[in-house]
Symmetry: C2
Amino acid sequence: MEFKDIVMKRYAAKKFDGKAVPQKKIDELLELIRFAPSSFNLQTWKVKIVTDKVTKEKLKAAAWNQEQITTCSHLLVFCANTDVLGNIDHLEKTMLGNGATHEQIKGYVNMMRGFEEGMSAERKLTWAQKQCYIALGNAMNGATSLGLDSCPMEGFSPEQFAQILDLPKGLVPTVICPIGYAADSPMPKLRFKKEELFF
Amino acid sequence: MEFKDIVMKRYAAKKFDGKAVPQKKIDELLELIRFAPSSFNLQTWKVKIVTDKVTKEKLKAAAWNQEQITTCSHLLVFCANTDVLGNIDHLEKTMLGNGATHEQIKGYVNMMRGFEEGMSAERKLTWAQKQCYIALGNAMNGATSLGLDSCPMEGFSPEQFAQILDLPKGLVPTVICPIGYAADSPMPKLRFKKEELFF
């Protein structure tokens, strides 16, 4: 499917039909998310995948009882990974393990470390969260490209989600995206005019 | 081009060849950005498009002298539109102009107004900025789908950019994306392992 068609076809499904998406398709979708770009390639996010019915019911109650959560197949919970320093160390190791030399990546690693040092805890969180939205974009477009439906959702309690999912400290639920087969129909797309958004 | 191929082909071009992208292609790209999703469909962003050489030189100086800025064809400056209330009014008018009745959209509009009232100025900014990253994602993937190259960049001074571009109050430069034809070659893609990002 051409990207233009993906963009025009994608919509926020308000209800799913409950059918399970085959694991092979989910694996393809996760690869599209995994290769999303991020600042410094630091990939400051992790995605908790929820398929369990009981857990979904609990999460639904922490998300204004929106039924996308219980009717979808896989619920993706995009979490900002606020351990930026840990990610720098991890990226450094990954690059070295991939054949780079200390000498080759020294400047890059030092730049990241300097950047990290200058950030408050709050700024680390919002910065990591922004990167989540790029990954989310690939999830939504990726789902459409695979014949699946999705719905970006911010209306939930991050604190309650963290508790229900027993998330490690440092992972902050940021935006969620149920994946499945839609049981509703898209409304016609409405956007501001071109001249209202570009100048 | 299949979305999978777009995701794997896209990379952050470090240098462009200076050639101008035809307006028709830019128009197609802007449509892909315009139809990006956003929270409540509020489209809390505007994009300043810079092609002028003198302005690009000034911006380059406010962006660590990164040469993508002067070698690209079109520089997209994604600005968060922090006038959330203005956007709600505007979306309401747009929906009414599109044939919806006050009765039909009353609940939706009231929900948005209640949400806006609960946000601090700082939260409005970070929330609007997050939406910019979804639009940025469509810009990057969209560029690749159109045979163009791009580079997401956060390393610039938002204050200086706002001043150089004489931006209206309320528009905050958030992330920039030069568009053009790359004059470098992509490095092999490196990402954390699947099991390190999904759980």
